[in-house]
């Protein structure tokens, strides 16, 4: 860790120089007997949802377990999750069905998982991604509907959006993420005092003023531009909502420990070591954003689909290695390409561990969260998109079972999106389009 997350420094308070000291034991008093609700208000400990993406898949025979069910076998490339196996389910044999749309290499798989639709243009998303739908369901009372970050440092590295050409841009540095979450506008939930900021109040009224321009504009536009305006005003409403949150005294949260300092600025680059470091700092920020209830939805991108990760001294990137490196006859896989996968699994475990370290009553933050980790291809060398590796971590506050290997038996991957949305309270009974339309929840996962 590059900076100090120690609880005591954090609790000294930081907003507007109005230092407030809060004793730690006091916070425990807010939790009721079983630790799942805040006694002061009766509010439930929130359930969170997130995604964690990595590019270029796995070597399937070295990663996927052979037998469905609990206590699945950990093959060499999955071995890094060992300590968290009980909290991680593995999903295999779910297929992406494109109905004749081209398999755009490294592009088609991700959007199919996130939207249940086949991408036809080589950009954007073919529909709303489920993290956005889930955000509309569970994220309305937090400052941010969702937080998005790209450890490889590319703002276009995103699979989240409402469809069309736009993607929710990713934050590219931990420093920027810090400022966004804990910078101006942040109210420490554990601060004993709360004064609504008069400037925020004024801004709130300004924004509702901007909303008044809506009818004037929409009366004069055509259908395509109206869509853009709708998205703009949706964004504006979320901004207003955030100001409302900033003007409301937050509930105290035992697990919230405000990071003491802004992490150092790092130049984005494809070097795997730099990306690992950037990811760790971003993971720490995300975890505290969740613990402090600043957002309940997040999207963490480790690398991009056609991964630009490099390793000092190598002539080519991770992506090129998957295509050009010779399969080692003795090993049966591509050792240099696989090196990157090993690091990616290490990063994933770091993320899970960081969530699991935060205690919320008798559960951990990981237990109160549900995270879908997935790639965009099964075996990158051949761009296969059936059986894309996916993992589900956390238990969504007890709503899902964990620690099992689910064999999808070749059914559409949209079953995953459907199940996740249902678990998170989105009221739908079917999801996806054409051959990926499904009403079959993955029953094995439901607690």
């Amino acid at each position: 860790m590059a900076f100090d997350l120690s609880r005591r420094t954090a609790l000294r308070g930081m907003m507007n120089g109005a230092a407030v000291a809060v004793g730690v034991p006091l916070l425990d008093a807010f939790l009721d007997g079983n630790g799942t609700a805040l006694a002061a208000t009766g509010a439930q400990v929130p359930v969170r949802f997130g995604t964690w993406f990595w590019g270029l898949g796995v070597n399937p025979s070295r990663w996927f377990p052979d037998t469905a069910g609990a206590n699945y076998e950990l093959k060499p490339e999955l071995a890094p999750i060992k300590d968290y196996q009980a909290k991680i389910s593995v999903l295999g044999n779910f297929n992406v069905i494109l109905d004749g749309a081209p398999n755009l290499p490294h592009v088609s798989g991700g959007p199919a998982i996130r939207t249940g639709r086949a991408l036809t243009a080589e950009r954007g998303l073919p529909g709303e991604s489920f993290d956005v739908t889930i955000g509309d369901q569970i994220g309305t009372r937090t400052r941010f509907r969702s937080l998005d970050a790209s450890a490889i440092g590319d703002p276009r590295n995103s699979l989240s959006g409402r469809g069309g050409g736009n993607l929710n841009p990713s934050e590219t540095s931990a420093a920027a993420l810090y400022t966004r979450i804990f910078g101006p506008g942040f109210k420490d939930p554990n601060s004993a005092t709360f004064t609504p900021d008069p400037q925020v109040m004024a801004r709130r009224s300004v924004l509702s003023g901007v909303t008044e321009q809506r009818q004037a504009l929409e009366a004069a536009v055509g259908a395509a531009d109206k869509q853009k305006l709708d998205q703009y005003f949706t964004s504006l409403r979320q901004l207003e909502k955030r100001l409302d949150v900033e003007l409301t005294k937050p509930e105290p949260l035992q697990a919230c420990v405000v990071p003491g300092a802004k992490p150092p600025e790092m130049n984005a680059s494809g070097d795997i070591e730099a990306v690992m470091k950037n990811h760790e700092m971003m993971a720490d920020m995300m975890v505290m954003a969740l613990a402090c209830d600043q957002t309940r939805v997040f999207n963490m991108m480790f690398n991009n689909g056609a991964s630009a990760l490099t390793r000092i001294g190598s002539t080519i990137t991770h992506h090129q290695l998957t295509h050009e490196e010779v399969l080692d006859n003795r090993l049966g896989y591509q050792p240099n390409a696989t090196y990157f996968l090993t690091r990616i699994m290490d990063a994933w475990v770091y993320f899970i561990a960081a969530l699991d370290k935060v205690q919320e009553g008798d559960r951990t933050l990981l237990d109160n969260t549900l995270i879908l980790a997935h790639s965009e291809t099964e075996f990158a060398k051949f761009h296969t998109i059936d059986n894309i590796p996916m993992m589900l971590a956390g238990r969504a506050g007890g709503r899902v079972k964990s620690g099992i290997y689910v064999d999808g038996a070749g059914t559409p991957v949209s079953r995953v999106g459907l199940t996740l949305q249902q678990v998170m309270g989105v009221s739908i009974d079917k999801w996806g389009s054409k051959s990926m339309e499904t009403n079959k929840t993955i029953g094995e996962l439901i607690a």
Partner: protein, 568 residues
């Protein structure tokens, strides 16, 4: 082609019929989405009679230029802007016409707006923008606020605010002054609201009936002012253009030409040309450029920043300062160097800071835009060159000839590692593609172009050998053989696709329409480009003045059912 334009015409007419209904606002069977609701706020008539025909989101460069022009270059624009997604094989300018603003994107715009507004009305600068003395610094003063906000609104919205809009922002300033106890804070909040408004963040193009073509629409004067300004200077229209719009000059063909000619003669035209080429040549890719420092010791942050700048300096020096022929850009020996580039190019650079002109010796293979390290490095891998990527970039970016993607199930095993001693050069390694029928179709249109640039490595440094084997830099394009970068440059200069592609890109850039949508205008434009000696000023003046570019073309949309019923 014929069928297509016929269809387009029909749709255009239908859309016009629909818009007439909308502007009348009275027809009882008007589609629900277009009806102006009862109890409309006063703002509804902000743009009386205007039909919005396009909304083009500002790019980051435009945003920065506008802030610098309206508030001064010393106002800091901190932060990044949500990137506009580039449609495949198209300009970002046409992506801008489709771009919406996500919650995170608006967040960034909002934070930037507040930051800018705080600087503008901070104690240091406020005197510049507040021409009146408020009655009480702690209270609202509508009269003084109006004096401040009205001219700013005209610049930021690129047309005068309506009385209702004016009253609205003045009221915001008053509402803000109350709780903050400061007149200037009130102004700050009102300005931040302007900078977050869709009227600022989008260049809104609106139309009026075209007297030359009854029943059709053309862009109105204010939209023309913005079009000219963003096309030629990549910034918001200034006083001259706004006044010209007010007095009807921009719909008069002769006066429009005079203005456009003055604008391309101005030093600010260079800024416009830079923005155009940065878009056409995919310069956003420089943000992600990374090279292995072990393999390329000359690669560092100074070099990364200098690479695109060197290309832009070469382009603007040749096309703008020297009024050169676009085709000669591919063979010119003139360029500019910094000390850090000097190392990469292995040429002496006398000055330790800044840029110095440099001319390669006659016969040097390092000639033309494609011999520049920026191009060569961008279309290479992180640790080696790529004839395929380079050839593809030449085809797609400079000749507008899209190359298909590799098939999804491609097997690259045949392309061996660079370390393989049996296959020392890229030419030999790529033979595998040339002999596999599923690959050769595309590789034969890319690789022979790129192989002529193989005497430059993955960072663009000159070399004679690869893995100790001598490099053969012969190339071929559309059946014409040539040698090295200079040969490629001459072949490009001789190809009609080169100038037609530039014409198409420039037209797409100006109008925000896709290449396909402007295609039919290209042959005529290219002839004018030729008549102007392939000068960039001639091309841009032509685009800025051609009536076709200001005509409103309505494309068929996936329209809701009730709308299509109405157009029967």
């Amino acid at each position: 082609m014929m069928m297509n334009s016929m269809k387009r015409m029909t749709w255009g007419a239908a859309a016009v019929a629909l818009s007439v209904v909308v502007s009348g606002c009275a027809a009882s069977d008007a589609p629900k989405t277009a009806v102006v609701e009862q109890g409309e706020p006063a703002l509804t008539r902000a743009m009386p009679g205007a039909q919005i025909v396009a909304m083009r989101r500002l790019t980051e460069a435009q945003y920065r230029n506008i802030i610098a022009d309206v508030f001064g270059p010393d106002v800091v624009v901190a932060g990044r802007i949500e990137p506009i997604v580039r449609p495949v094989h198209e300009m970002i300018a046409s992506g801008a016409a489709e771009a919406s603003i996500s919650p995170a994107g608006l967040d960034q715009f909002d934070a930037m707006a507040r930051n800018i507004a705080a600087q503008v009305f901070g104690e240091q600068r406020r005197a510049q923008f507040v021409p009146c003395v408020p009655r009480d610094e702690k209270l609202a003063d509508p009269a003084c606020a109006a004096k401040v906000l009205t001219p700013l609104g005209r610049y930021l919205f690129r047309r005068p605010m309506s009385p209702a809009e004016q009253a609205f922002f003045v009221k915001l300033a008053g509402d803000g002054a109350g709780p903050t106890g400061s007149f200037h804070k009130g102004l700050e909040l009102a300005l931040a609201a302007m900078l977050t408004s869709p009227r600022f963040l989008y260049v809104i193009e609106s139309a009026e009936p075209d007297p030359a073509r009854p029943g059709e629409l053309r862009l109105d004067a204010w939209s023309r002012a913005a079009r000219l300004s963003f096309l030629l200077w990549n910034t918001t229209p200034g006083e001259t253009l706004l006044t010209a719009a007010e007095s009807g000059k921009l719909t008069d063909q002769a006066q429009l030409r005079t203005l456009a000619e003055a604008m391309v003669a101005s030093p600010r035209f260079e800024q416009g040309v830079r923005a155009f080429f940065a878009d056409m040549l995919l310069f956003e890719k420089f943000d992600e450029l990374s090279k292995d420092p072990v393999i390329y010791p000359y690669f560092n942050q100074d070099v990364v920043q200098a690479l695109p700048e060197q290309m832009l300096r070469t382009i603007t020096d040749h096309l703008v300062a020297r009024n050169g022929d676009y085709r000669d850009l591919f063979t010119t020996q003139r360029t500019f160097m910094t000390r850090s580039l000097g190392g990469l190019y292995q040429v002496p650079v006398a000055r330790s800071a800044g840029w110095v002109p440099y001319e390669f010796a006659p016969g040097d293979d390092r000639a033309g835009l494609l011999g520049q390290a920026g191009f060569l490095a961008l279309y290479s891998h992180s640790g080696r060159s790529s004839p395929t990527l380079r050839g593809r970039a030449v085809r797609e970016l400079l000749m507008c000839e899209p190359v298909p993607n590799p098939p999804g199930n491609v097997n690259f095993t045949a392309v061996q590692e660079t370390g393989n001693k049996a296959k020392p050069t890229a030419r030999i390694r790529l033979l595998a593609h040339a002999t596999d029928p599923s690959c050769s179709g595309c590789h034969k249109i890319t690789d022979p172009i790129g192989l002529s640039l193989e005497r430059f490595d993955g960072l663009g440094m000159a070399r004679k050998t690869e893995n100790a084997a001598l490099i053969d830099a012969s190339g071929e394009m559309d059946g014409k053989p040539f040698q090295g970068a200079i040969g490629l440059g001459k072949t490009m200069a001789a190809s009609p696709s080169t100038t037609q592609c530039l014409s198409m890109r420039a037209l797409s850039y100006a109008t925000g329409r896709s290449g396909e949508d402007v295609e039919e205008l290209v042959p005529a434009l290219d002839r004018k480009f030729a008549a102007g000696g392939y000068g960039i000023r001639a091309l841009f003046t032509q685009i800025a003045t051609m009536p076709e570019a200001y005509r409103v073309v309505t494309k068929p949309l996936a329209a809701p059912a009730h709308v299509s019923m109405l157009t029967q």
